[in-house]
Symmetry: C2
Subunit: 350 residues, 2 copies
Amino acid sequence: MPPDVLDAGLMRKAVDTVLEDFLAGKTEFAGQPITAQLMGAFAEFMSGGKRIRPLLALTGWRAVGGERGNGSIVRVAASLEMFHAFALIHDDIMDDSDTRRGRPTIHRALSGIHGSDHSGQFGRSSAILLGDLAFTWADELLHTAGLTPVQYAALLPLITEMRTEVMLGQYLDLCATGELSDDVEATMTVNRYKTAKYTVERPLHIGAAMAGAGPEAMAACTAYAVPLGEAFQLRDDLLGVYGDVMDTGKSRLDDLRAGKNTTLVALALRASDAAQAARLRALIGDPFLEEAGAEEVRAVFAATGAREAVERLIDDRYQQALRALDTAPFAPEATATLENLARTATRRTS
Amino acid sequence: MPPDVLDAGLMRKAVDTVLEDFLAGKTEFAGQPITAQLMGAFAEFMSGGKRIRPLLALTGWRAVGGERGNGSIVRVAASLEMFHAFALIHDDIMDDSDTRRGRPTIHRALSGIHGSDHSGQFGRSSAILLGDLAFTWADELLHTAGLTPVQYAALLPLITEMRTEVMLGQYLDLCATGELSDDVEATMTVNRYKTAKYTVERPLHIGAAMAGAGPEAMAACTAYAVPLGEAFQLRDDLLGVYGDVMDTGKSRLDDLRAGKNTTLVALALRASDAAQAARLRALIGDPFLEEAGAEEVRAVFAATGAREAVERLIDDRYQQALRALDTAPFAPEATATLENLARTATRRTS
């Protein structure tokens, strides 16, 4: 009989309660009701989301023997979600995205507050600030988690690494955007830093380190997390082009219009003939691309075998992550949870 | 004979050395030389600046008995400067400013890296990221300062407060920008949070708290810092309209073009007749305002007595800050330094 998995519903509820209580204390500033609109938009934004990073942190904690119901790790996990809100808000400004989680992005939502000619700029500016506040609050959650000095010492370097990695990964992504290339390896480097380490490896590390994990357990986290995280991003790339907006909550034209040089695009370019490559270069990055053009891009992805190749890459990495779990020195229910998560993350439709 | 002042040159040098050494360790990421351009722009940016916040933190430390040559407080002071770099980079994006410290702003400088049609957007996006990195590095400097648990516990709530105050102060400023009003008190609220607390009170508090200051010393910091900080911002408002670009390093059209509702503007509107008010509303906030229009605005500031009124507000606050020092329980050389600083901050031309 397979071991029980950890109760993701319970873990999620614990994290959500911390976040809701925390935000409930942030409704007023210097007696200025005007900030209520900002907080309202943020609370709504925070109520969405899959909570992947907190769940991984809590699983990492339990994997190496952390006890159930510990308040500090839940608060650290909530801090990761708060940091992620910061990252998403700023990402959406950089990508100029209109929707996120099925709703207007924060900078679009906030542009409605200011009744001036500059509402677009006001929306972007206040979204930059709201992201900055979320970053500040991520720190506040961390510093009010009641960590021991030993936990602090283990945690802070990992937090700094995680933040630096996702930011520089995003910078590499930004540099590659709008300049299509068949450099598949370069796209995988971006995936590794921007997603694999940030979304999977570091949250696991952080939870495990909180519970006093040694080098062997930390290495096992990496062996599982990096391939899974790469697969997660590759699935995201596919969903960005093939996903159903009703499931993903975001337009499947955004990535193409932005000219994102994903692994999918790089593989297609590498396998294209001259005519196909020319069409890809004409269509991907066109800010006015419509569904008909997107269909043409998808046809090239099919004809070049790029879509299937990405599916294979995902499956390879999924298998690799499972193999890493075979030898990981983790508690059985954590291992079972990570197996489930690997399946969900690579086969999801949203 | 007046007591000696602290050696600001030495303090500044100590902070600069920490910042330079820190940034020297950040020249490469994941073997990607592309980030070198980002780091180059940042290092150049960091080499400017008056280092007001670090100097205040070091003075606060010495004021309540912290010993000379302590490495931890220098690193905390450097962390404040790093955080300030973050704040300036994001401010310049929000204000869409072209110059800072006599050079192109970071988002303008970075827009040159990317040879695409979207170089403006690339510049803004990478500047958002570089600001985020500076925020991360401010935390890293703090967490590698070798603080004791007692110092940590005293410091972290002050850091969180400081960050929240400047961000929400900036948000209030953003909301007021482009909507001219004669609400002088509202402009003073923005000054208090965005500048007085952030630039003067919190750095002093942070230094003093590091040295174990009690409530009386903390209250003395506030009594000195808030009026001085308000005066500092009022001087900044005047310099924004009357300053010499050779001294200030920034255009004296930016604030007017952006439609900043400063105390100066609010006072002028309050004292204007209908014709003057109409001219102010037509000119301030015009993104294409030229020097001739700015001269007309300055004429209204003179005719309404607004410019002189701001000078009087500055002087009142300067005197108030000095009186607070008379009874402050500070070491004599720190008091003398703060007296000097009050004079410089309120009478500066840059």
